[in-house]
């Protein structure tokens, strides 16, 4: 009967391997993360239960910021050139086509357009720009812009998006809708934050039963 000698073994685990794996994962995520480009126009969109994802390529975006100022963004550079050329011929504005093509968004009236384009890209902040005038029904410049955009997209599908701020008032929204209606644009989408269907509502019940949403 010997003394029960429990051999004591060292319990320190070498954690360097886990550390390596952690840093490998970290590097993977750093390299695959895409930061959203900081927007010149700060907009807080409302949320909706829609489940369709907003397109982020080849779209035409009308933005309404919280003060009701309207800005137009055309994603496709070729179409920007077409729009600039058509505006030059129809309205004789004398826009610098190259600068228009490089501008990420348009935010001024026709008269102020050249001075808008002369401001450098970083200094074009939404809160300092006047926006496209569209509240006045007699002088809805957005109608003319949308007409040019329509012509540029004739034949191909246009993804028209409207991104409004929560606090923007209805008259600017109405101005935008009028511009669309005058150009026979019936279909467009509004950019919102995603939200789950409220529990207990009919939409919720339908999504739970697996019914196909026609949104």
């Amino acid at each position: 009967m010997g003394r029960a000698k429990l051999p004591r073994k060292s319990t320190t685990i070498d954690m360097t391997a886990m550390c390596d794996v952690a840093f490998l994962l970290l590097s993977f995520f750093i390299l695959t993360t895409k930061f959203k480009p900081s927007e010149a126009i700060a907009v807080t969109t409302p949320s909706s239960v829609s489940s369709k994802v907003a397109p982020n390529k080849d779209f035409v975006l009308v933005t309404i910021d919280k003060d009701g100022k309207v800005f137009l963004t055309i994603d496709d550079k070729q179409k920007r050139e077409l729009v600039a050329n058509s505006m030059n011929t129809t309205k004789n504005l004398g826009i610098d086509v190259a600068k228009f093509k490089a501008a990420s968004f348009i935010g001024s009236s026709f008269s102020g357009l050249n001075s808008f384009l002369s401001i450098s890209e970083e200094n074009r902040k939404g809160d300092q720009l006047p926006g496209i005038p569209c509240k006045d029904t007699a002088n809805n410049e957005l109608t003319v812009w949308m007409q040019a955009v329509n012509e540029a997209y004739a034949g191909s599908k246009m993804d028209l998006l409207l991104k409004g701020d929560n606090l923007s008032k209805y008259p600017s929204f109405k101005g935008v809708l009028t511009a669309f209606k005058k150009n026979n644009i019936q279909k467009f989408q509004m950019v919102t934050n995603p939200e789950n269907a409220p529990a207990g509502s009919e939409l919720y019940k339908r999504s739970m039963s697996g019914e196909k949403q026609e949104n």
Partner: protein, 193 residues
């Protein structure tokens, strides 16, 4: 936990070193691993998590003549009006001349507009004569006032989606309705959204 042992045991004495007093430096790597995982979780969560969604809206064709459009039956019509400061009002059918059916509701909480819509839906179903489409007569007319916000409009359009209302229209307010809205806004208590 994790440690680095830099004491380096067992190598030959450096030249001329009298007393090679090697202090054992044990570096604890726990905080570094913690930081590592924190950064990982940060990057996991910021790689395109929630993409903005798009809500479709179809505008009615202005050119279609009014008599060719579907006439809304008075029994199935619900009109929702939005005023300033997140005030919301509604009336069923036609607006009575003494505005007695001009009622107010709220966006959330008790007497919410969702309850109003659901009640109207249930009512339309109960008086419906068409078994295949009991909600055929339900039409919701959305009239945003001059001072309501874009968020109010989107919220109501969202309610149409949530409550599965198939027929709705976005139209302008009449002057008399705008006056009613302004009057009620002035007397009502400010509400939240």
């Amino acid at each position: 936990m994790a440690e680095l042992d830099t004491s380096g045991g067992g190598h030959k004495k450096g030249p001329g070193v009298k007393k090679g007093k090697k202090l054992s430096t044990r570096v604890d790597l726990t905080p570094m691993v913690d930081l590592g995982f924190l950064l990982i979780t940060f990057f996991i969560f910021t790689t395109t998590m929630s993409q903005p969604t798009a809500m479709k809206l179809l505008l009615p064709d202005d050119k279609v003549k009014p008599d060719e459009q579907n006439k809304a039956k008075e029994s199935g019509a619900l009109t929702i009006l939005m005023g300033a400061d997140n005030h919301i009002y509604y009336y069923e059918g036609q607006l009575k001349s003494d505005a007695s059916n001009f009622l107010s509701a709220s966006y959330n909480g008790e007497n919410s507009i969702r309850d109003v819509i659901l009640k109207k839906k249930a009512y339309v179903r109960s008086i419906s004569t068409d078994p295949n489409d009991p909600e055929h007569d339900l039409v919701v007319v959305i009239k945003p006032g001059q001072n309501c916000t874009y968020k109010n409009v989107i919220d109501i359009l969202d309610e149409m989606s949530i409550n599965v209302v198939k027929k709705f229209a976005l139209v302008d307010v009449f002057d008399i309705e705008q006056q009613l809205i302004d009057k009620s806004d002035a007397t009502a208590t400010p509400s939240s959204n």
